[in-house]
Each structure stands twice: as C-alpha cells, then as structure tokens.
C-alpha cells in the first residue's frame, strides 16, 4: 500500500540551505520538491539552486535549477519529472528542473541550497510532495 503526503520543511531560521530526512518508518517516492527563494541584492551572476540526495555514504545525486528572477527578487523552484523551463518578470521567477529519483530509503537526506548565495539570500518555503509506503508494511496510524 502507498500513501500521499506533503512535508513542510522548517525554514523559519533564514538561510541558504534546507534539509529533509526520510523518516525511519517510510520509503519515499518523490513527486516534487517545491521551494521559494528570496534573493538579496548584489548576488553573483552565477547564483543557482541545487537539490542534493545523499545517503550515509555520500552524495548520490545533484540537480540544478537556474536563477530566473535575478537579484532582489523571488524564485519559485519545482524539481519534478518534466523538462526544464523558466520564466520571469520583474521581481518574480518560476523555474522547473528535471528530477526523477528512485525510491528513497529511511535516512536519505534531501538538501536544497542556494549556490553562490549572498548574506541576505534565504529559502522562505520548502516542501516535499511524495508517495510513501511504511517499512513495516502496515497502514499509517
């Protein structure tokens, strides 16, 4: 049996990184990772967003998404199983980056990073949308 859920990742402490760890009782099949980045002024032109999957051994996948909105702006990023695309108007960008990981086991870590961030850059939202099964084979309580 599998179930559908979303996980809101705590980004209340401003920063250029968010993480989510697959709980011990679940196997995840990720549909999307959705995040919103607020970018400060003065950032490097090579700023971009990176989603990492890591096991206890180390990094097993890195998926990049471009900065669409530029400085002093907001980007909405969706990592999903579809081709890359991005749009932007003044102050707002929307980006999708290809992402289709296999089933993630307990303890696997997802990390989102604003690469080449400046001090004021921060994630304001981070959310994982996924199907899961329980490692016990049972049903959720």
């Amino acid at each position: 049996m599998s179930w559908l859920d979303t996980l809101d990742i705590d980004v209340t402490t401003p920063g250029a990184t968010f993480t989510a760890t697959v709980p011990g009782d679940r196997l995840w099949t990720i549909r999307t990772v959705y995040a919103v980045a607020q970018l400060d002024a003065g950032g490097a032109p090579s700023r971009y967003y990176q989603l990492e999957i890591a096991t206890s051994t180390g990094t097993v996948a890195l998926v990049a998404a471009p900065n669409a909105a530029g400085d002093s702006a907001q980007d909405e990023i969706t990592w999903a199983n579809c081709p890359a695309a991005s749009i932007a108007v003044t102050g707002v960008g929307v980006v999708v980056a290809p992402f289709s990981p296999p089933v993630l086991y307990p303890g696997y870590v997802l990390t989102g990073t604003i690469v080449n961030a400046v001090l004021g850059d921060a994630w304001t939202t981070a959310r994982v949308w996924y199907d899961y099964v329980l490692t016990s084979g049972g049903v959720p309580a």
Partner: protein
C-alpha cells in the same frame, strides 16, 4: 478506461483559473487546454471615434498617474479608469450642439462622493454645454449646464439621489424644438425640465471627459453623442443592449447613427504573459511548472495553452499563438487544486475555454476494490494527516 473531460468555469477578468478535485475523485490528468486573452492596459494616446466622422480624442496630461484600461462596463469590452486624467478632442467635425443632441455613457464608481466630468462642449468663452455626473455625501446627480450668448448660463439637474453601485447608464437629451431637457438613469426617465429658448453660438466644439485628478477611482465606457434627441424607447433599448455584451450594444447603437462614439478601449499591442501551472494540496503549492518557451508577441489575438506530459513547443501567428507546456504526470486526489499562475496578469486579461482531460482508469480501479487497497505506487490516503 474512459477519457473524460471537465470544463472549468471562466474566471473573472484579471484572475487565474483554478479547479479543485471533487470529493471521491482521483484526477489522472492527460492534458489541459485553455486560452488567454492578454490586453495591454495602457491606454493609447489616441482615443478613437469609431463613427469615422473624424473626432478622435487625445489622452492628455500624461504627467498624472493612472489612466488605464479596465474590463468594460459593457461586457466583452474594455473601459477607462477616468479619474486621473482627461481625454479631449480637437474642435468637433460638424457641430452637433446647434439643435437637438443626446449624450449617453456608462459609468461606475463604488463611492457616492465620486465626481465626474462627462463630455463638455466648448463654445464662445465658457463651455457652451457641460454634462456632469456628480456626487456628494448624500448621493449623486446629473447636471446639464448651458452657456448662451453673453456668457449667461442656466443648468438643469436631476437632484440628489442614491447613486446605484455597479455600471450605470446615464443619458441627457436636449430637445430644442420642445424646449425640454430629459435625463435618464438606467433607461428610466426623470421628469422633463423645460427651459427658455436661447440661441447658442460657439467658436469651437471640443469634447473633454475625465476628471483630471479629482475624485476617487471611477470607470467610464462607451461615450456616444447623437445630433438628435433620442426617444425614451431608444434610450431603453440602448440600456438593455449594453447589459448583454458589446456586440449587442453595437447592434443597437449603430442604426441610431451617432455623431461621435468613443468606446474608450484603445489598447496597445497585446503582450504575451508568462504562464505556469500551479498545483496545490488544497492548502499549499506542491508544484509550479512554467512554460518552456517565451515569445514576444505583438498581435491582438488570444493565446492557447496546452499542458501535457511530454515536450513543450510554441508557435504564433499574427492573430494568436499556441504554447504546449511539458508537465509531469499529475494524479491528484480530492481537495487538490490545479490552475494557472500567470506572471504580470493585468486587470483586463481573461482566461477562457478551460478543459481538463483526465483518465478514469485509476479511479475505476479504486471503485472495484476495497477502498483501503490501492493500485501500486498511486494512492489515496483517507486518513486525516497530510495528503
């Protein structure tokens, strides 16, 4: 397996469309199509008189802020926000003020204190005739002022009344032969007011409307001037037609042979909005998928969007375009929403013809089983947490 469609209701202009998956449904989306009509809401400098009589107006005083196009008071049309600026014409071609005339227009304001200046016909030293829709703390009223030889003047007014909300059709009829002024509000006449005959002479006839920065935000649409005194039946027919849509309104106005007609919808070149497909879990976004290709579009036609798993593409013609947007496979349970997320959506932009194609195989499979047994990898969770 049956391929089904659901038609999503058109949203009001200036808003994105959205669809919520109904209870006990599992929406396995095959594709979505919709059409976006984008309007450059910047009113152009020239305000056309569509009778062809040559009385085009000019958007004046550009240093003030805010003259822009908004959805029309006559449906399927555009209108202007008329408070923050003025529009004026050159001296009118031919002179409608010598004798009978009728002035008609649509206006709207949510504030009874709103103040309008409607068409002003200028003459000698002062405006020869001024038709105003005015308001105060107690309501609104219409007033027709005329200036005749020697700069003398008199005026006729409806008296203060509660001002209706929403689009209002106001008409002033000047019947020189009968020495009557008649006002109409939404097709209903006020008692006619008589006046003494005075010859009116003018050296110029300009029409000016807009309040040049006075009053609260208001909308004006379809200003029409006739060089005849319309009958009550004609006014009633105009009002009824204007409530339907612009084509119906046009069908009634045209046979009455207006002297001048300013629809007040002179838009600039159409601009292509940037569109993404937004999916939420009923509370928060879980995916926002943008279009892949961006075209700079300078035409005036609608733009069709087609979202489907696969590869994206785009093409355009002088009358519109099509963009196919590649999306992941979306299987959405009850309570989830899918809809457009348009960047820079303006107040006059309109989505229409929204159709979702979906495959009912997964949902049919659910119906065949105990509700707690699901097909592999795709699931519904009936419990209260998450989802």
């Amino acid at each position: 397996m049956t391929l089904r469609t659901v038609a999503v209701a058109d949203p009001v202009p200036g808003t994105d469309w959205s669809y919520t998956v109904p209870g006990r449904y599992l929406l396995d989306i095959t594709g979505i199509t919709a059409t976006l009509r984008t309007i450059n809401t910047t009113l152009q400098t020239t305000m056309a008189d569509i009778t062809g009589n040559g009385n085009d107006g000019t958007h004046g005083n550009p240093s003030l802020v805010g003259l822009e196009l908004v959805p029309g008071l006559v449906p399927d049309d555009l209108a202007i926000e008329c408070t923050h600026n003025t529009i004026g014409t050159a001296p009118l071609v031919a002179d409608p003020v010598a004798g009978d005339f009728t002035i008609a227009l649509w206006i709207a304001s949510d504030d009874p204190d709103a103040f309008f200046n409607c068409p002003i016909f200028r003459g000698t030293v002062n405006p020869t005739v001024r038709f105003q829709v005015r308001g105060n703390a107690f309501g609104g009223f219409f007033q027709l002022t005329r200036v005749y030889a020697g700069a003398s003047s008199d005026f006729f007014t409806t008296g203060t009344m509660p001002f209706p909300s929403g689009p209002v059709f106001v008409v002033a009829v000047y019947d020189e032969a009968a020495n009557h002024v008649e006002f109409y509000l939404n097709g209903t006449a006020f008692p006619a007011q008589s006046y003494a005959a005075h010859p009116m002479t003018e050296t110029s006839d300009e029409v000016v409307f807009g309040t040049n920065g006075v009053g609260v935000t208001s909308t004006m649409d379809e200003v029409v001037v006739f060089d005849t005194a319309l009958s009550a039946a004609d006014v009633s027919a105009l009002y009824a037609a204007g409530l339907v849509d612009w084509a119906t309104w046009q069908g009634v106005v045209t046979p009455l042979a207006p002297f001048a007609w300013w629809p007040l919808d002179d838009s600039g070149a159409n601009t292509n909005d940037f569109v993404a497909l937004l999916v939420t879990n009923g509370a928060n976004p879980v995916a926002d998928i943008p279009q892949g290709s961006v075209d700079v579009y300078a035409g005036s036609g609608p733009w069709a969007y087609s979202w489907q798993p696969g590869l994206g593409a785009s093409s355009q013609s002088p009358n519109g375009g099509v963009t196919t947007v590649a999306i992941p496979r979306l299987v959405l349970p009850a309570g989830y929403t899918v809809g457009a997320h348009t960047l820079d959506l303006s107040a006059a932009d309109e989505w229409s013809d929204i159709t979702i194609w979906w495959d009912d195989a997964l949902m049919a499979a659910l119906d065949d089983y105990n509700p707690y047994i699901f097909p592999p990898s795709i699931s519904l969770k009936f419990l209260t947490q998450g989802g």
